[in-house]
Symmetry: C2
Subunit: 307 residues, 2 copies
Amino acid sequence: MTADMERPGEFELIARHFAPIAGPGGLGLVDDAGLLRPARGYEIVVTADTLVAGVHFFPDDPPGSIARKALAVNLSDLAAKGAKPEGFVLALALPKGWTESWLAAFATGLKQAADAGGCPLIGGDTVSTPGPLTLSITAFGSVPAGRMVLRSGAKPGDMLAVSGTIGDGALGLKVHGPAAPSWVAGLSEGHRAALTERFLHPQPRLRLAAGLQAHASAAMDVSDGLVGDLAKLLKASGAAELAWTGGDDYEILCTASQGEYPALAAAAAAAGIALTAIGVVTGATGAVQYREKGRARRFATGSFAHF
Amino acid sequence: MTADMERPGEFELIARHFAPIAGPGGLGLVDDAGLLRPARGYEIVVTADTLVAGVHFFPDDPPGSIARKALAVNLSDLAAKGAKPEGFVLALALPKGWTESWLAAFATGLKQAADAGGCPLIGGDTVSTPGPLTLSITAFGSVPAGRMVLRSGAKPGDMLAVSGTIGDGALGLKVHGPAAPSWVAGLSEGHRAALTERFLHPQPRLRLAAGLQAHASAAMDVSDGLVGDLAKLLKASGAAELAWTGGDDYEILCTASQGEYPALAAAAAAAGIALTAIGVVTGATGAVQYREKGRARRFATGSFAHF
């Protein structure tokens, strides 16, 4: 019996590994489509993120970690938009040589993330590829009509804040990667484990979503580095006082009016999520400027760019 | 100047090539998410299909054709579910060496298919891959609540019908592929062109969607070969009198009660789409049986399987 013969076909694969992750909208994953049924007065926020082995994660990362990260980065986007997760579809391109045990561990991690996020699988597609493992997740969340938190809503005078800590993900990549820099050896085992955990298993800030929806003027998640992501948010221009380059944070960058900020901070505290005010949006036009203690600061590297 | 330097960055790429395809729900493609706003009393049908170069299309196929096919196969699923297209997201993994002109042609084809289907882009993700070009599209359609046409609704006594012609896509693959069988030389140039067109540019049967929604008891699109797809539809078992193996048809396989079938046939005729009754669902249990002129018929090859 070859390894191939021990692997399930597409339909058995779906029934065995993915059906347990499906919600009612997935219709048992036996149809060509799933269903989203927003409550009256609600809209559906749609976000998509693709992860490629060797680009967004290491091919030999634990399969459950790959799955958890793929869903988490999408849930992070929903949280930033103030949306409540409702479901997701998974497009999975499996490379040659995948094994049943790899897929079982992948599905276990995916179920863990789906359960934690309250975001069931409602459909997808599984194909083979001669290339690397590629996962595209499209995730759906609900918001009251007209209440999605935009990237573009920041106004002069608004407080600028960020959740959690920034930079851990980028440090975790260094610690976890194949050619760790020399400073990694100087870290305690506990620190190394904590940073690796931040890189492998970003925690979407879903408990901040309701507060953002009620109080934020703009928000986005920090996935490509705070400096570059801040520049995107402040397209209409502004200034912030402290920043950090790097990626993989999956924290929330947001703005709120001076009037709303205390309520947003209270909502974050109630959710147990640190929220740090890092600046104020100014009315200045032109490129985004960073000032630290009143002095201009420049960053050699901006946002992570794919091309 | 290297070729790389002539290529746009991710954000310029989106603004230049994809923003013209975006609908209002895409929010200009400058946010992290798009929006679906179903009308009151409607639900959202969600379907996803992934295409990989070298698996689902030839890497040197015209880029516009690749884009058109990627959207068409998703719109075909929406049509089969009786849904009206509302939008789609594109997850695009670009291989090394992509060029600006390739992407421009791809986007032109995508816009053509989006305009023809009334299905604008509302979001997506663009990444680089060391592997082959990979496209995952998730498409959304609307149906009145509870009216999605399921795969599982066929009942004993229902008429079984298929739209258009079956087998052209599979023949088109033979004609278009690199090692055409000897019989291809015996075809006229016109026939070869027509079959290639059917393979490269499947036409989603969107004009049949309303008729299916009103009159069909079950439906699915025929993408993996009629024999295998019919077996899927008739899980609860049944019988059909004629079938054909092969794939890439993107026609609609459907059932309707004897009472509704004339109305469905009239709707198809009004839409200018051929609809052929190919059998009747029986109440027999067990494996799907094919009978031609009363005699059992077997097929050596069933549905296309990825694994």
